[in-house]
Amino acid sequence: MALIQIKDLTKTYVVGDQHVHALRKVSLDIKSGEFVTIVGPSGSGKSTFMHILGCLDRPNSGSYILNGRDVSKLSKDELARVRNSTIGFVFQSFNLLPRTSAIENVELPLLYNGNKYTPAERKKKAVAALAAVGLAARGHHHPNQLSGGQQQRVAIARALMSEPPIILADEPTGNLDTRTSIEVMEIFQQLQRDRGITVIVITHEHQIAEYGTRIISFRDGRIVSDLPNSYARLAAEELEQLPVPASEVA
């Protein structure tokens, strides 16, 4: 059974006296362990789709079965619980808390999982998650002491904290240069490959979309194409070809 089963999803906003049809009967299945990229110009409905996919919003109609559970009609609090346990978010602007150490930023999701861990356990897990994204030495740095790529890696570590089956990344490379973009995509590919995590990346850059094994295009609130990508780019290989930046030589 597919991890995500979406059928006839519609979402309409009322802006002034106009009805904006953000999603028109979208249907889609995503299997566990896929690396899906979703592309489309702004206004195509991909952001709305991502919000519903991420359980931040509810559809007007249609069903959304996530991990075997219909989440399209859950209350706000129940959605919060689902988000906490099932979905790891990565945002374009990183969304790290300012003046807060990387460790504390990474710990955040565990504050809201019903006291499953003691503070000491939380910290241990956060340190481990930071190590997994190559930032073991930066645990006590504040976001303003980290580069953009490092900040995004902290955000990925945070997304991994409650060990979710899905990582949902909204334009994760939008604020990054080419090299760090590839680095971030490499981490995603590694997570998908090594841990079997389902990765869903929303982007408007086609080069980024090509890292996925499946590319879905949105336009005017509908899926216009949904194609497997058997020639997906491999970030790890590309990184080897790139010259080592001066900043990392020292």
Binding site: H51, G54, L56, D57, K76, D77, A80, R81, R83, N84, S85, F89, F91, N95, L97, R99, L108, P109, L111, Y112, N113, N115, P119, R158, S162
Partner: protein
């Protein structure tokens, strides 16, 4: 997140904006500090008034055996109004009417204890001399009347006290150990009062009033441990009582200081008596003496089996009602004569009521002024919390995306508000303690910071935090995570 972690998070967040947080809690600090200080000063004023009143003996109630004014005059209401006591007071030499009522107590008259023994014996010679009070009555008052502070049963005699070749004819009071606590104006020049143990053992010990001490030993001699003879028995002197109060002076003939004190049990044993002349009682509050004396009257009437129509076989006097006839302080006297339209209508009890009421009004007034500053402080907190919610919209959106429920967000912001106000409150209490200390030192006012006021102030501070924090916290909790995340 457990509560302690929530509080920890709140304090950390507040510390990140240390200056802003400090400025915000200053409002609460001033409010709480002002309230606690004002209440302390008000309480101090009230306590010192109450103290003066108590020191003047205004909470003392005396129950006297027998009822002289019975015969046909008035119905015997039990509580004597001050007019009546003024009349009786004229007969004596400034002594309490108790003794005035017993003509044989005149120190100029030659008589001896057998007369007294007869009077106190069970043979009642007419209503006026009725010896009706017993120690059981005293115990019943102690246990059965509310608002009672101390009770001391008493027997009053006259006696010759001998020390070597000196002799002094003076009053002898048989009392209980609580008598020293009833007489607030007493201070021990030497030694102590007789103890419970000496009382229970009917010990031959005596405490001298200053006048008796001076006459027998001279002013500067410490008589403790010396032996005096009373009724041909050797009594050991254990202490000397002097007066601290302007209202009572130790002159010859003074009932309290030209006197010797002996345990009641000893007097009963030596003179083979079983009855009492009087029971001296204090009420906890000077304002309650009338109420308490009514209760005593009722209790004793019941105990003595006196029927509806029959007169009391005792007299209950409040000290307040007697005090007008005595040499009270000129200030009090002036206050009475200056303010009272009808002097005969005003008792010191009423005066103390008035003073108490005035100081209470003052306290309420000052506390409400201080309360306004609490309100302003609360609004300050609300203002800052609203600002904080706006500033941290993105953080709220993020926390929600990561799984925070509305109530988690609400709790976080509410905790911040309450933490602010509580810290403000605690600092305010500390400032108030310092301020009332300063008031005591510099202005020589008495200020009493009561634990209740401190607890109340802290609770009020927390309540202010909740009250003014709930709206901003609600605003935060009701944010939509998508909009909040998009907020720039």
């Amino acid at each position: 997140m457990t509560l302690s972690e929530t509080v920890h998070l709140a304090t950390r967040t507040l510390r990140r904006n240390a200056l802003r947080s400090a400025l915000t809690l200053v409002g609460i600090t001033i409010g709480v500090g002002a309230v606690v200080t004002m209440v302390a000063v008000g309480n101090g004023a009230r306590a010192s008034i109450e103290d003066q009143v108590v020191a003047a003996g205004m909470n003392v109630i005396t129950v006297v055996a027998g009822n002289y004014k019975m015969k046909g005059e008035d119905g015997g209401g039990g509580v004597v109004d001050h007019n009546a006591s003024l009349e009786t007071g004229k007969k004596g030499s400034g002594a309490r009417p108790l003794f005035v009522r017993h003509p044989e107590d005149d120190p100029m008259e030659k008589h001896d204890h057998p007369t007294a023994r007869q009077r106190l014996g069970d043979s009642a010679a007419g209503l006026g001399a009725a010896a009706t009070l017993t120690r059981a009555d005293a115990d019943a008052i102690r246990q059965g009347v509310s608002g009672i502070q101390y009770v001391s049963a008493g027997v009053h005699e006259s006696a010759r006290v001998l020390y070597g070749d000196r002799r002094w004819f003076t009053r002898l009071h048989g009392g209980e150990t609580d008598l020293q606590r009833i007489r607030r104006s007493w201070t021990f020049k030497y030694g102590r009062f007789f103890s419970d143990r000496e009382f229970n053992n009917t010990a031959l010990v005596t405490v001298l009033g200053t006048v008796a001490h001076e006459k027998l030993f001279g002013r500067e001699t410490d008589p403790t441990g010396r032996e005096v003879r009373i009724w041909n028995q050797p009594f050991t002197v254990v202490g000397v009582i002097a007066s601290t109060n302007w209202a009572t002076t130790g002159a010859v003939g003074d009932d309290q200081f030209d006197a010797v004190y002996v345990p009641l049990t000893t007097v009963h044993r030596l003179l083979n008596l079983s009855k009492l002349n009087s029971i001296t009682v204090t009420s906890r509050s000077a304002g309650e003496t009338t109420k308490v004396s009514r209760a005593i009257t009722e209790l004793l009437r019941k105990r003595h089996g006196i029927g509806e129509a029959a007169p009391d076989d005792f007299v209950v006097q409040t000290q307040a009602s007697l005090a007008l006839g005595k040499g009270v302080s000129p200030q009090v006297a002036r206050a009475i004569t200056g303010n009272a339209p009808g002097l005969e209508q005003l008792t010191l009890e009423q005066l103390s009521h008035t003073l108490e009421r005035a100081s209470r009004t003052m306290t309420v007034l000052l506390a409400s002024v201080a309360g306004v500053s609490l309100l302003v402080g609360g609004i300050g907190i609300m203002n800052i919390m609203l600002l904080s919610v706006t500033e941290r919209t993105k953080e709220i959106g993020l926390r929600m995306a990561l799984g925070a429920r509305s109530r988690d967000v609400m709790l976080q912001f509410l905790t911040e508000a309450v933490t602010l106000s509580l810290i403000g409150g605690v600092i305010g209490v500390l400032l108030a303690l310092a301020a009332s200390g300063g008031v005591k030192q510099v202005l020589r006012w008495s200020a009493v910071v009561s634990p209740e006021a401190v607890v109340l102030a802290v609770v009020v501070a927390a309540a202010v935090g909740v009250f003014f924090g709930i709206y901003p916290a609600r605003q935060a909790a009701q944010l939509d995570p998508i909009d909040a995340l998009r907020y720039e």
